[in-house]
Symmetry: D2
Subunit: 148 residues, 4 copies
Amino acid sequence: MTERTPETLKRRLFEFAKEFPFFKLIGFELVDVEPKWSKTQLTFRPDLRNPNGVMHGGVIATLIDASIAQAMLMTDEYQRVRDTKGSMTSVDLRVRYLRPVSDGKITCEARISHLGRRIGHASAVVTNDHGKDVAIGESIIMVDIKDA
Amino acid sequence: MTERTPETLKRRLFEFAKEFPFFKLIGFELVDVEPKWSKTQLTFRPDLRNPNGVMHGGVIATLIDASIAQAMLMTDEYQRVRDTKGSMTSVDLRVRYLRPVSDGKITCEARISHLGRRIGHASAVVTNDHGKDVAIGESIIMVDIKDA
Amino acid sequence: MTERTPETLKRRLFEFAKEFPFFKLIGFELVDVEPKWSKTQLTFRPDLRNPNGVMHGGVIATLIDASIAQAMLMTDEYQRVRDTKGSMTSVDLRVRYLRPVSDGKITCEARISHLGRRIGHASAVVTNDHGKDVAIGESIIMVDIKDA
Amino acid sequence: MTERTPETLKRRLFEFAKEFPFFKLIGFELVDVEPKWSKTQLTFRPDLRNPNGVMHGGVIATLIDASIAQAMLMTDEYQRVRDTKGSMTSVDLRVRYLRPVSDGKITCEARISHLGRRIGHASAVVTNDHGKDVAIGESIIMVDIKDA
């Protein structure tokens, strides 16, 4: 009940993100989250490099995918999905790489732009420490709310 | 010189993949590689899970991206890019998720379907231990061969 | 009833395609169709050119979209959708352009590669008169079968 | 010379668009254009319908593709491409369909979001008469400026 106030929900999302094994593995950090929006970060590390010496494209794809998932968590739709034991699944992820990343932190802002009864659309922009765009991402989410 | 025989090149690619830090971080394994083709694997681990308990979509995206890169390494085009100090960069990655992964190994077969003077197109299929398709991926690679 | 034999269905699809106004507008022709597969054609005409003098990308996108729709029509899933007054809608279309088209006929082969309870995935390849690939397309179809 | 003032260029683009055969075929209209931006329209007509009775997805894809091309025409980059007899080609088009169109006019706003030395990225939003989003599109443009 009281668990459902936005403040409580948000606090729990932060606690969860901090300890979640996969997020620790790649250094994913939740910076802020609202319904249909999130801001997240990831820091360049030598073991996140591809053989060319820059951050692996898969790491950037992971940051985008994880950020979009965070942007869903505070929506009413997601709460209804949880309540009805339905599901919300990313069925499509697309990343366009604009610039290589070779140091510093990258920041991802994700937005749910359209959220219908069956399908949601999200987008994300990743920027580097200098504010330059590093990658843009789009995702399609399938929503399955079970009727009572 | 002799380094350039396909057998020597292949052996070096295997040695490299085995020790490469990012590949070790997520458990990426090179199974086989030919010009324009690769077969790679990744094993389910608890710390590769997303909060729903199945393999994170970003890990599958990473497997696809890394596999497509491997499929480029034995091509003549890639060797020319290296010789001319040009570059070969993935500019676009798309992944469609078909089934969740919750155990076992997943296998990725990547193919370079079109390789032009300026742009290459690649595709990949990821299957699970039961031979079922888990994800399909497509990638666009920008080729920059410097003229002598 | 007898309407539902594959032969009758196929004959009706050909008759329909021949007279359908939009297909006549752009010159779309059905060559052959099977469940989950279709072959279609379109002939270069001066009024299908873009300002650069080659066939407009939108025409090629239309050929791919229409071909994938044809490939759905003979599937059992589509018949069930019709019977339950459900719907089958293309929610995503992607086209990658490989070569310009400046004369002759182009041929599109479309395939439904995955058809689930909720989502279908299709792909298509467009070739020119010389058998060279002109474009490749992918599509996501949302299936909505109403339960009785 | 004087041909190159923005006003003259814009006037010529309007004149061209009005008479261009393919634009007349499908009813494509240029509403406004600036460097890296365009606004265009298309009116629902019975012969633009798909077999389900709503506007064919290919027509919407065409509107998006044509609008993005218009948004390139007033850029300095495009003028340099013309001067050097280089080329600017759409290599990738993606359309996500959000709502069917069954009457009225649809309006497309296209933007070139990133324009580099080799690759440009564009996006477009199509809305209906009620201001609701009908489709969103993204495109990748390959730029080939020939060095003097």
